[in-house]
Symmetry: C2
Subunit: 270 residues, 2 copies
């Protein structure tokens, strides 16, 4: 099934748009997990078991695994494989290279790791995205507005009559011929989510930066989904993964997702 | 020793600025290599043995290894380890993420893989580069003008009175407080190499796109180095790696590097 259909079904069924970012950092794990043979995989396994019936997606950031070298790659691959098939996996990779090289990254992410979707960086333009777009059942979220302070350095520059991130949004809309593109729009700037939604049709949004990075969940969902008319995913990583540093970390992670889901339910959109 | 010093010494000693891109693709290898147990590593080993006394740097693109999953990561790591210590290695990764995530990528590339330098994408701004800059002996080349057609989609957009890529060059110059930043400026647009050189002081340039991608070597070196006044590296990948598809592939790769070196020597700059 196409990523987008899989996601739509889950949103309708679970009445939530929460994505959990599996940015699993050994240094922040509970002590009893740190002592295990394969602590990161075990941590992920318990987080997934505790939350997979409540979320719409998981988003491991590949950097947290590459940090460990080839061992980390294997942990990531195994993590993807234990996520229930109904729940799509976005590999947060922010890749972007010239065409023949991007094709290699697409193989790595969609074939070797088995991801359903990916995040990509737009700086190299359309031909750097094409090899990913060719996988018609897979999906690519292109960076538009990111949630960090550095977003201002280039993304906010005026090109013509509008900021660069708006030009990126318009370009992605134009390139969306296979209906498998979306945008990353950070929660740190709720007004920009509204702005980008108004010029990007129904492109699905992936919204990071809720929680540890301080973004506003209600505004992100309301503006991002255009009150339920477009697909949106709101990602929380640290807020869920490290809700507790004790034996009850998985239980507390579940409670944290439930809290996010309740806030979303209270909006009355879904 | 700092990457920049290592590189300066080699350029002075070898009178060349050639970098060989180790974008080693199994499908393009000679048949006798394909039959070996670890064909990619064996291929790299023979290319390195045949050329390491003639080049200033190697630049493996990580995508060609990630394509193979964790096995590929190990091959890349071993490839880096067999390159003679005097010859610096640039990991072509085009990474860029929010600060705490970029720090993970920096660990992966500088610590796990053992790269001396990296390529980074600028879209997320200064704080996405900082964790790499913190490694003061390592070096980061930031994408400015890329060698693909898609470069035109965003990089050439006018911001204020100049194109985005010029704004990126000016920003990188400003951020170069630790003297460990440079720019990637593709050979497909020689006039732009000249233009970017005129506004970016002595920032070292990494110039891909010579050879298979059709860039002009003489113009790249002359404009990129400002007639020898700045550091420049000119990368060739496919032209060297696949100079022959027979038993003599390594020998032919060496001849190809010698040809490039001769063209550079004939410029009379070094």
């Amino acid at each position: 099934m196409k990523f987008k259909e899989k996601l739509s079904e889950l949103v309708a069924e679970r009445k939530t748009v929460v994505c959990v970012g599996l940015d699993s950092d050994f240094d922040k794990m509970p002590e009893h997990i740190k002592k295990l043979d394969n602590p990161i995989l075990e941590f992920n396994k318990q987080i997934i078991e505790a939350t997979s019936d409540l979320v719409c997606s998981y988003k491991p950031n590949i950097a947290f695994y590459e940090r460990l070298g080839s061992v980390g790659w294997d942990i990531l691959k195994e993590t993807v494989s234990i996520i229930p098939k109904a729940v799509p996996v976005i590999i947060d990779a922010k890749r972007g290279d010239i065409g023949n090289t991007s094709a290699m990254y697409a193989k790595a992410i969609f074939e070797d790791l088995g991801g359903d979707a990916v995040t990509l960086s737009p700086y190299l333009g359309e031909d750097s995205l094409s090899p990913f777009i060719e996988y018609k059942d897979k999906f690519s979220f292109i960076l538009c507005v990111t949630s960090n302070a550095g977003a201002q350095d280039f993304q906010f520059l005026e090109v013509g009559e509008r900021p660069l991130y708006q030009f990126v949004a318009e370009s992605v809309l134009k390139w969306n011929q296979k209906d498998n593109l979306g945008l990353v729009v950070g929660a740190s700037y709720p007004q920009k989510i509204k702005e980008v939604r108004s010029i990007s049709g129904n492109l699905p949004f992936l919204i990071p930066g809720v929680g540890a990075q301080g973004g506003d969940l209600e505004a992100a969902v309301r503006f991002g989904s255009d009150d339920g008319n477009s697909l949106v995913l709101v990602n929380s990583s640290r807020g869920v993964l490290y809700a507790s540093n004790g034996l009850d970390f998985a239980e507390k992670a579940r409670e944290e997702v439930q809290k996010l889901n309740q806030i979303i339910a209270d909006l009355g959109i879904y």
